[in-house]
C-alpha cells in the first residue's frame, strides 16, 4: 500500500456523528479537520441531555454525551495515550482513530510529529521511521533524532531525499537512508510501530502549497503497519 493509499484508506473510514439535541447550536463547528460528518436530529422537550451516536458506513459504534465529545475535540487535544485518560476519551480515541486533514500548516505538522516522537520516546523501544523531504529539514531535527536514538532502545530510521550537493550524512546511533524513493521526496511522514504496545501511530502529509499540507494521522494498527511497509 502506498502512502497515498494509506491517506485514502483513512478517508474512507470517515465517521458520522449523529447529534441528538433540541437545537443544532454550534456543535461540530470545531470538527472540520476531523474525519467525521455531523448530522443533527432534534430531540423534543424533556428528552435526555444532548448526546452523540458515532457511526461508520452504517454501523453503530458507540454513544457519548455531547459534552464529552466536545471536550474531546476541544484544543488542547487530550493526550491520547495518557494513563489517566478517562473512559469516554479512551473509547472516543479508539473510535476516532484517524484524522484526515485538508490543510495544516508546517507548524501544526511539527506539533503532530512531536507528539509521535514523544510517544516513541516514552515507550522507549520499537521502530521509529521519519522522512525528510530536504536535508535542511533533517538538519533542523537532527538533534531531536540523535537524542531519540541515544537515550532509548528505539531503532530509529531517518529517510532523507537525496540532494546532489548534500554532504555526507553519517550518524552513529541512527540509521540514515538516502534511497531515491518517490515516497520520501513527496511525503512528510513519521511512523512509530508501538514497540509491542498499543501506542502505534503515524502521520503522512503531502505539501499542497507554500505552507499547506494535506494528509492523515492515524492510531489504527493496520494503517500504521501500512505506512511502515510503504517506507521501510
Amino acid at each position: 500500500m502506498s502512502l497515498r493509499a494509506v491517506v485514502d484508506a483513512a478517508a474512507r473510514r470517515r465517521k458520522t456523528l449523529v447529534h441528538y439535541a433540541p437545537d443544532a447550536g454550534d456543535f461540530g463547528d470545531g470538527f472540520a479537520a476531523r474525519n467525521a460528518d455531523v448530522q443533527h436530529r432534534p430531540l423534543p422537550e424533556r428528552g435526555p441531555p444532548p448526546f452523540v451516536v458515532v457511526r461508520e458506513n452504517g454501523d453503530w459504534l458507540g454513544a457519548f454525551s455531547a459534552a464529552d465529545i466536545e471536550a474531546f475535540f476541544e484544543p488542547p487535544h487530550p493526550d491520547h495515550d495518557s494513563a489517566a485518560l478517562s473512559e469516554p476519551y479512551r473509547a472516543l480515541a479508539d473510535l476516532l482513530d484517524d484524522t484526515v486533514f485538508g490543510s495544516l500548516s508546517r507548524r501544526q505538522l511539527l506539533a503532530t510529529s512531536r507528539e509521535i516522537e514523544d510517544r516513541a520516546f516514552r515507550v522507549g523501544r520499537g521502530e521509529l521511521h521519519a522522512g525528510f523531504q530536504t536535508l535542511s529539514a533533517f538538519d533542523a531535527q537532527r538533534d531531536t533524532y540523535r537524542r531519540l536514538a541515544a537515550e532509548t532502545d528505539l531503532d530509529v530510521h531517518v529517510y532523507v531525499a537525496p540532494e546532489a550537493t548534500a554532504p555526507g550524512l553519517r550518524e552513529n546511533s541512527l540509521t540514515v537512508h538516502r534511497e531515491a524513493s518517490p515516497e520520501v521526496s513527496r511525503y512528510w511522514f513519521v511512523a512509530f510501530d508501538g514497540g509491542g504496545t498499543d501506542q502505534q501511530c503515524a502521520l503522512v502529509a503531502e505539501q499542497t502549497g507554500a505552507d499547506s499540507y494535506e494528509g492523515a494521522w492515524t492510531y489504527d494498527p493496520e494503517l500504521v503497519e501500512s505506512v511502515l511497509s510503504a517506507v521501510a
Binding site: 453503530w60 454513544a63 464529552d68
Partner: protein
C-alpha cells in the same frame, strides 16, 4: 408547583376527561403495565414530543438516557435495546394505545384520547423527578 389555586397541571386537559367516551379509556391495567418500565416510558415520552420516529432512533433515545449513568454506551448494549424494543416494549406500547406502526416502518404516537396521554405525561414527569431526587 402549578401556580394559583387550581390543582390541575397546566397541560392536564381536565375538560377532555369529561368529554371522553368510555371506549376512549384504555384498560388501566394494560396502560399502567405499559408505563411500569423505564424504557417504555422513555419511548412513550419521545413519541409524545416528536410525533414519530424509526425504531433505530427510539433505540438511540433510550441509549441517550442511559448516558446519564454511564459515560460510554457500546454497540452490544444498543443491540440489546433494539431487540427488547422490537420483541417486548413496542408491542406493549401498541397494546396500550400509545404507539402505532406506520406503513413506512416508522413508529408513531397513537391518536389515543387525551386522558391517556395525560397519564403518560404525569407518569413520566413523576419518574423523572423521582430519578433526579434519587441522584442527589
Amino acid at each position: 408547583m402549578p401556580e394559583g389555586d387550581e390543582p390541575s397541571r397546566e397541560d392536564f386537559s381536565a375538560d377532555a376527561w369529561d368529554e371522553a367516551a368510555a371506549e376512549d379509556f384504555v384498560d388501566p391495567d394494560v396502560l399502567f403495565d405499559a408505563l411500569a418500565d423505564p424504557t417504555r416510558r422513555r419511548v412513550a415520552q419521545h413519541l409524545d414530543g416528536a410525533g414519530d420516529a424509526t425504531i433505530e432512533e427510539l433505540a438511540d433515545v433510550v441509549v441517550g438516557w442511559r448516558l446519564s449513568r454511564e459515560r460510554v454506551i457500546e454497540a452490544a448494549e444498543r443491540e440489546r435495546v433494539l431487540t427488547a424494543l422490537h420483541h417486548s416494549h413496542l408491542p406493549k406500547l401498541a397494546d396500550a394505545g400509545l404507539l402505532r406502526y406506520d406503513s413506512d416502518g416508522r413508529m408513531a404516537r397513537a391518536e389515543t384520547a387525551a386522558p391517556v396521554w395525560d397519564v403518560v405525561r404525569v407518569a413520566c414527569e413523576y419518574a423523572n423527578h423521582a430519578a433526579a431526587g434519587a441522584g442527589e
